[in-house]
């Protein structure tokens, strides 16, 4: 039986979704972090997921697919340029750079990530109860 593999698959998805939640938290926390130049400004981060396929073996098992976080990339969207000469970080033109974080998009992404996490928790608990009842087979 392949219940152990299912736990690994669901576990990998939970890890990937918590990386996603992590980047969202960091994006939202830094949504209003000002910087003096484009290079210093915070750029929104996003994880890149990829499927890792298991090898199908000869014992009649099918191949599952885990999730892997390939990389965390920085968004290439333009930064917000704000004219604010009173800001101590303003450059000689009086411009301050704010991150390219879109709080609305981050919030919806956060809901999607936490729902995906919960789905995998549900998978784990269902698989657990299936395994328990399989172990009790033969009892009255």
């Amino acid at each position: 039986m392949s219940f152990r593999n299912i736990a690994q698959i669901a576990g990998s998805a939970m890890t990937a979704q918590s990386v996603r939640l992590n980047t969202i938290a960091s994006n939202l926390a830094n949504a209003d972090t000002a910087a003096a130049s484009e290079a210093q400004a915070y750029h929104a981060r996003k994880p890149v997921f990829a499927a890792v396929f298991e090898k199908a073996d000869s014992a009649g098992r099918v191949a599952g697919a885990r999730v892997q976080v390939l990389d965390v990339v920085q968004s290439a969207e333009p930064l917000r340029r704000v004219h604010d000469p009173d800001n101590p970080l303003a450059n000689e033109e009086g411009v301050v750079f704010y991150p390219n974080v879109n709080p609305v998009a981050e919030m919806t992404d956060m809901m999607s990530a936490s729902r995906a996490f919960e789905t995998n928790v549900e998978v784990l608990s269902r698989v657990n109860s299936m395994q328990q009842s399989l172990l009790r087979m033969g009892d009255e």
Partner: protein, 124 residues
């Protein structure tokens, strides 16, 4: 008249094992719900069971594993296309997963009923 346990329980054990394999496939789909380009997989339970039982009868393969060949994994046809090429639809997969878990319980219950019947035949 002898009772051959492996013959009596062949259908039940294959059904349970295929249900467990299908759980893994559906769990993979749910795990890759947000992986770009991932294509949801599934297999035809009835055809796979027929195939496993057919091979069993021909080759007399051991019962603990399916008769050699894994079920043929097919691709799910999505109801809607998505921009990142991912064909996992959460509702569809959740429904299939729940149905499969319930069917697993059904197969388990049938196995238990059969075992109880055998025990009754032995005890008299």
């Amino acid at each position: 008249m002898a009772i051959h346990f492996d013959k009596v329980l062949a259908l039940n054990s294959h059904a349970l094992q295929l249900r467990a394999e299908r759980t893994k496939v559906l769990a993979s789909n749910l795990a890759n719900e947000s992986t770009p380009g991932y294509q949801a997989r599934d297999f035809d339970f009835a055809a796979s069971l027929r195939q496993a039982l057919g091979e069993e009868m021909l080759a007399g393969a051991p019962l603990s594993e399916l008769g050699g060949a894994a079920p043929d994994l097919l691709y799910r046809v999505p109801n809607h296309r998505s921009q990142d090429g991912n064909t996992v639809e959460l509702g569809v997969e959740q429904a299939a997963f729940a149905q499969n878990a319930a069917d697993f319980q059904v197969a388990l219950t049938f196995t238990q009923m059969k075992l109880r019947g055998l025990a009754k035949a032995i005890e008299g």
